[in-house]
Assembly symmetry: C2
Homo-oligomer: 153 residues x 2
């Protein structure tokens, strides 16, 4: 690729990724409503998918310090959406799971987000959107690898 094209692509990527990220956050917030923040919903999503997980695991997945996770989890425990339970064999570890009302709220909200995404995805041709998501996934893997390499240095 020649330099000029690369520069153009970089500009376009930086620009479009900023816009889409911003707008997506806003649209998701509209689906979620006032019971939860976006970050709190993402937290419920992760735990729902994992069924059971630890603060350390969340800190790694969300790329933040463990103390940030403690703060978010505290708020979700206060709302009765998450349960904390110590591991009996290693009492340093605390397992997090969704409570029944946490599961209910998550599933209700996630359904609305899925409908939003569906309404967008279905406006594309099948080939275009599958190709897009495939490249997006490649990008994701690439970023994971970059992190590992940095840790290796």
């Amino acid at each position: 690729m020649d330099k000029k094209l690369i520069q153009e692509l970089i500009d376009r990527y930086v620009n479009v990724s900023f816009k889409v990220t911003k707008k997506a956050e806003t649209l998701i917030k509209e689906q979620i409503g006032n019971d939860l923040t976006n970050d709190q919903h993402y937290m419920l999503r992760y735990i729902h998918h994992a069924e059971k997980c630890t603060s350390s695991e969340l800190a790694e997945a969300f790329d933040v310090n463990k103390s940030a996770i403690t703060a978010i989890i505290n708020r979700l425990v206060e709302k009765g959406l998450i349960d904390r339970k110590r591991d009996e064999t290693d009492r340093r570890v605390v397992y997090l799971t969704l409570s029944q009302s946490g599961t209910d709220l998550f599933e209700k909200t996630e359904k609305r987000i899925h409908k939003l995404v569906e309404s967008i995805i279905t406006k594309f041709e099948r080939e275009e959107i599958t190709g897009f998501i495939e490249t997006y996934e490649k990008l994701s893997e690439m970023l994971q690898k970059m992190e590992k390499e940095q840790l290796g240095e």
Copy 2:
């Protein structure tokens, strides 16, 4: 498209967009360093591109209330990176511009971010990345339109 495929695509999209957004934020923060937050850099980027703009314009571009903009701009003015100047013909309006050191810091940091993006983009085939960015841009336009429709309702 059949329902099963759509469901699969939604799942994959929700999953991958979360991961990429998170990781990209982290990587950008590494490029920016400790002089600025990511949001502050994005603010400088917008003003740099516009050359001159108002709080209201920023509030719309960033999808937040004007008071959130005031807070961020205050911090950037304190750091000497942005200048405020009242419009002489309509004294309600305040124009924001980058100071010399604001311009310097922005350009230095943006260069690092561009290198980061370049290092990623150039790992893809030309057709794949251009197709990806084109679809991404379509998506962006679609989201803009959705907002207008909502306002119209």
